[in-house]
Every structure is written in C-alpha cells, then in structure tokens.
C-alpha cells in the first residue's frame, strides 16, 4: 500500500499560516478558513433576520440560542476528535441520555449539585467511550459497526438506568446553570462550551497527543512507524468523545430541566452533531479539521434554524435545512481540491461521450 508522505497536519489544518506574499492572497486564504466562513455567515444571517424582525438580536434571544446550541456543540467537539482519527461514533445519544439520567436522579433524590454531577457525567461517558474504543482499537471492529452495536446496547443501558422513571424536579442550581446568564447575553453554558472547544483546540494543536490524533487520522501506518501507539490514541479519542457526550448530558439536563429513558436517542441530536462536525470542516477521511469549526458550526446551525422560524418557514423543513447546509458546506470547501461545478459537468459530458 502507498505510504506517500503527508503534509503536516498542523499546516493542512490551518491554511492561513505565516509567509503570505500579498494581502490579497492572505485575504483569500482567510476566507477559505472554515471557522471564519462560519462566523461571517452566522453574522450575515443574524443581520438579515434582525432587519426582518428586530427582536432577533435581543440579548435574551442571543443568550437562549447560545445556551440551546451547547449540548450539540460539546458533543460535536467530541465527535470531531473521533472523526479526526478517521473514526465515527454513532452511540453518543444514549451516552448523553444515560449521563443526564444518572445525574438527574441523584440531583432529584439526593440534591446532587451540578459541580458534583460533573465528574459523574464525565466518568459515565468515559466508561462508555472506553467500551467503544476497545471494540475499535483492540477487537479491530470498524468504527461504524462497533458504535452501531453499542448504540443498541447503550440504549438498553439507558432504559435500565431510567427504570421507567423520569427526572422531573431539579434543584434550582441546574436551571441557573442551564439558562442563566454570566453576563447579559452570554449564558454560563456558552462559557463552558467555549472553554471546552478552546481547551481541546489547544490540546489538538499544541500537544504531542493532539498531533498524534491528526497523524493517526492521516495515515495510521505511518503514525505507527513514527512510534505512535495507534491503539492508545484511538482508544483515547473514543474515551474523550464519550466523556464529552457525558458533559453534553449534564448540559442537556440543566438546559431542558428533565430527562427520561429516550432522552438523546429520540431526537436528531446525534446526527446534528455529526452534521456540525462536517459543516465545521472536519473530513470523514480523517486528519483534517478542528474542534473550533465544529463548535462554531453548532451555533451556526442553531441560528440558521431559528432564522427560518423567524421568516415563517414551516418547521417541517428544518431537517431539510440541515441537509442542504451540510451539502453547501462541503461544496464550499475550496481547500480540498475538489472539482468545481463546471469541471464536474465537463467530466460528466466527457464520460457520456465516451460511453456512446
């Protein structure tokens, strides 16, 4: 098999580096950055929607949208780490649900504080992620199959934890955490989410472990030869993804205020997180992308969908909106060397000619 040298993951992940020749080139490079694109598009959507309905830009709305996006955002950060290693985790929904239920029941019946719930949520998520990691790295089961299996098993675990009960009454601390503002317009949850995203961005870019994640995703064989313990890195990525799904569960619990046996698995939260990962510029082929993009994409999706409601679009088109945005995001990625629409059409015509 080919072992072509791959460019440094750091450079490929951050196209806007040093040594620019002209300002124009810098600008076009910056515009090619997925993170910047997302910020710009989100701002434009905000501006257009506000022009249509002035309440859209109120501090209350911004605060709510940010808080509402954070469960998906945190899960998307975890999913990104796994996708960077060329994996995927389809089991995050029941991990989120199980963590939310476990913390919720203890909070409801034994006054567990959110701060005490945090290590519990992380531990539950990490343990479930560890199971996925073992299946992928040690048993060698392809990630999509392994996590498809654990999706069924973990959903059962969640139902067992729920035991036909529902979390209905939480201490006020959860509501304050899930819906309160640190400063006007900036909810606590957004600070947590941003903190997680920045921390993992730094880990990925600045540490040996982070670089080995990119290396494994780029070329596992080369990474192995370079002395990286590929199995350990892979297992770690699933553990982190699981732990972040557990944190997502705590965020979900605080924000929504309740949890039951189908929390997480009943909604599109898992697929939306994968969508955010892809829209954020991380590629399924691994080794390219980053967590900041996924974090911003989660906010972008939330804002875009809220704007659709503002423009009186029937909510049944929301899923279609997510689908179209996934396609647009990948088609608008100029860094992949993908053929343009014109050259694609030319290819199509030529192949037709060749057939006739």
């Amino acid at each position: 098999m080919t072992t072509a040298p791959s460019p440094s993951p750091l450079l490929s992940a951050r196209p806007a580096g040093v040594g620019q020749r002209s300002a124009r080139r810098t600008l076009s490079r910056l515009l090619a950055m997925r993170e910047l694109q997302l910020v710009l598009v989100t701002v434009v959507i905000f501006a257009i929607t506000t022009a249509h309905a002035s309440t859209f830009i109120s501090a209350g709305n911004i605060s709510f949208l940010l808080a509402d996006a954070m469960a998906v955002a945190v899960i998307a950060v975890g999913q990104t780490i796994v996708v960077l290693t060329r994996g995927i985790d389809l089991s995050v929904a029941p991990i989120l649900g199980t963590a939310a239920l476990a913390v919720g029941f203890l909070a409801q019946n034994h006054n567990l504080t959110p701060l005490e719930g945090l290590p519990l949520a992380l531990a539950i998520g990490a343990a479930m992620g560890l199971g996925n990691g073992f299946m992928v790295a040690l048993a060698g089961i392809p990630p999509i199959i392994a996590t498809l299996g654990s999706l069924a098993i973990y959903s059962g675990v969640q139902a067992i934890v729920a035991h036909s009960q529902e979390v209905v009454t939480l201490p006020p601390a959860y509501f304050n955490l899930g819906n309160g503002d640190a400063i006007n317009g900036i909810p606590y949850l957004a600070l947590i989410g941003a903190g997680v995203a920045i921390a993992f961005a730094l880990i990925l870019w600045r540490t040996r472990f982070g670089r080995s994640i990119y290396a494994v995703g780029n070329n596992a064989e080369a990474a192995r030869r370079a002395g990286i313990n590929v199995s350990r890195v892979t297992v770690s990525s699933y553990v982190l993804c699981g732990a972040l799904a557990g944190l997502g569960g705590l965020i979900f619990l605080a924000h929504v205020g309740s949890a039951d046996s189908t929390t997480g698995t009943d909604s599109n939260i898992q697929l939306t997180a994968i969508a955010a990962t892809l829209i954020g510029g991380t590629t399924l082929t691994g080794g390219k992308g980053g967590v900041i993009g996924s974090f911003l994409a989660a906010i972008f999706l939330e804002v875009a969908l809220a704007a659709l409601v503002e423009f009186r679009l029937n909510p049944i088109w929301e899923p279609a909106g997510v689908g179209v945005m996934i396609l647009l995001a990948v088609l608008a990625d100029p860094t992949t060397g993908r053929p343009s629409l014109r050259s694609a059409l030319r290819m199509l015509l030529q192949s037709q000619r060749a057939r006739t």
Partner: protein, 343 residues
C-alpha cells in the same frame, strides 16, 4: 503482498465466504429449532413461523440495496428515509387517482432517480457517500412530511396489499416470494455479471479496478441507483404490509439493514463478501428478534441482543482472521488508513 502461510486443508474445501454462510445457515437452523421446540406459538405448524417473515423481509430488501453500495466501498444512510418517502409519494399519487401499481412504479422510479442523483453528486464532486446520503436523509425526511401532510392516505386496494404485503400463495407468504426473486437476482448480479465483478473489484481496490479498465465512477453510480431502487421497493412492501404510509415508517429499517449486510459477511469497507450471506443474515436476525418477542422478552432486550450479536460476530470474525495471518481484515483496516485508500 505476500501469500499467506501454507495451511493444512482437510474436509470440505470452502473459501472463507462460504464458511461464513455455512455458519449462518447452521445458526439459523439452530435458532429455528430452539424457538420451535422451546417457545410456544413460534412454530404454528410452520405457517405461523413463515408468516413472521412479513415483519422483517422489508429489512432484507433494503439490506440488499445497501449491500450493493457497501460492496463498492460506499455507504447509503438515506435508505430508511427513502423508503418512507416512496411510500408517501405512492400513496399521494394513488389518492390523486393514479392506478396503485402505476403509482408504485412511479414512486420506485423516483427512488432510483434520487439514487442516481446521490451517485452523481458523490462521484462528480468526489464527496464522501456517508456525508451526501446523511444530508439526503434529512431532506427526504422533510419532503415526506411535507407531501404526506396531517393525514397520509391509507386503505389501499386489496390486490395491492395482498400481492406486495400480507397475502400468500398456499402456505408461502407473498413477501417470501418477492424476497426470493429479489435475492436471487441480486446474488446473480453481484457474483455472475461483469457489473458485479467490477463492483467487488473496485470495492476491493479502487486503483486496481481503474487500471483493469473498470469505469469506477459509473459502477459506483449504478450501485447507488440500485440502492435507491431497492429502498423504494422496500418502501412499497412496507406500505402494502401495513396498508398505510407514514413519513417515518421506513426510517427504523436503516440500522437493522446495515446490520444484516455486515452480519452477512460483507466487508463494511467493500470488496469482500457474498450477497447470499446478506439473505441468510436477514433471516437469522429477523427470526431471532421475532422469536425473542414471542418468548415474551421485551423489545428493549431484543434490541440489545441484536446489537450484542453484531459486535460479537464481527469481533470473532476479525479475531479469527487476524490469527490466521496473511492478508487479514486487520491488515486491510491498516491499509485502509493510508491516504490512497479512499479517493
């Protein structure tokens, strides 16, 4: 690549795919024996047992469709939504006065057309199939809800529900006949035609396929057309079986269908396996699920058992292949990680 170590061969000379299928057949037989003898109500004089296939053969039809795509090293996550969508389109056309069979045909052709669009987008823009079909799943879901509205039509003509759904020829349910025809066709298509050979070869190694003159893009596109087509047929069968449609009726079939493909021994990365294995796996999983339910076990537990069987089967398969040395699955996995692996 080096030849695997020489091995002593005894008894039947079967290749690994045939062995896997033999194992599945033995498993199926053992499962049926256990449920027939140990669980009241399962056997039902044979007819009862056969009738239970009505509740899972739709999964098998979808699995065959996804199977084509997986053979080529791609994946299609839109099949479930496609089946729901096709059912709704057929029902709405029928409500507008179109003859039901014509409506079904049009709906299935639309599904094949959407499959064609998937294939073209994926090959021309060189996008990941998972990504495109994930997006498509969202879009088809919205379309189905929009077209179906508050009260999707139901109560189709008896001839339709009987032939495509719950009818039977003597003791044999109509769905088994449909499934047998489709299954036979698909096995021949994959393992006896030039298209099938190209499909398996390009799933195995896209570059090698290209060098041997296979039109890689066009073969992949055709796999997506087949996937759309079979998801469409599954949608029609579901509509006929339940005598109604719903914007999410087919959605829950996707994951069991992929499970059946993989348990059937088809390599999720493409290029290896046998379509007949998918047919066996459909029955193994379907009867396991129905049998557990009839035994009085909750659906939750049955789902967990299904997930456990998938993981354990794959772990065993991979573990054994790994121990055997040579070009093992694990080796392929490693090879797959290299940049040339996925164009």
């Amino acid at each position: 690549m080096a030849e695997g170590p020489a091995r002593i061969r005894r008894g039947l000379r079967l290749n690994s795919e045939q062995w896997w299928m033999t194992s599945l057949a033995v498993l199926l037989a053992a499962e049926l024996l256990y449920f027939s003898l140990g669980v009241q109500g399962f056997w039902g004089g044979g007819t009862g047992m056969l009738n239970q296939t009505e509740y899972f053969l739709d999964i098998g039809i979808m699995a065959i469709g996804v199977g084509f795509v997986i053979f080529a090293g791609d994946i299609d996550l839109s099949c479930g939504a496609m089946a729901s969508f096709v059912g709704i389109v057929m029902a709405e056309l029928w409500k507008q006065g179109v003859e039901i069979w014509v409506a079904a045909l049009i709906a299935v052709l639309i599904a094949a057309l959407i499959g064609l669009i998937h294939g073209l987008i994926i090959t021309l823009f060189r996008l990941e199939s998972l990504l495109v079909t994930l997006a498509s799943q969202f879009i088809l879901g919205s379309l189905a809800t929009a077209i179906g509205g508050g009260y999707p039509p139901y109560g189709f003509p008896h001839a339709f529900t009987s032939i495509a759904g719950t009818g039977s020829v003597g003791p044999i349910p109509a769905q088994i006949i449909i499934f047998a025809v489709i299954g036979w066709f698909s096995v021949l298509l994959v393992h006896r035609t030039a298209f099938g050979r190209s499909l398996v070869l390009l799933g195995h190694n896209r570059d090698a396929a290209r060098y041997t003159g296979v039109n890689v893009s066009w073969t992949r596109v055709r796999a997506f057309v087949l996937s759309g087509l079979f998801a469409g047929i599954a949608g029609i069968v579901i509509a006929a079986t339940y005598n109604s449609v719903r914007d999410d009726l087919g959605d829950s079939l996707l994951l069991p269908a992929i499970t059946a493909v993989v348990l059937g021994g088809v390599d999720i990365f493409g290029g290896r396996g046998h379509m007949a294995g998918v047919l066996f796996a459909t029955f193994v999983l379907g009867f396991l699920y129905q049998g557990l339910l009839i035994e009085g076990i909750s659906q939750l537990t049955a789902n967990m058992v299904g997930g456990g069987v998938l993981v354990v089967a794959l772990a065993l398969k991979i573990g054994l292949e790994r121990r055997g040395g040579g070009l093992s699955f694990a080796h392929r996995l490693r090879a797959r990680f290299s940049p040339g692996g996925v164009p």
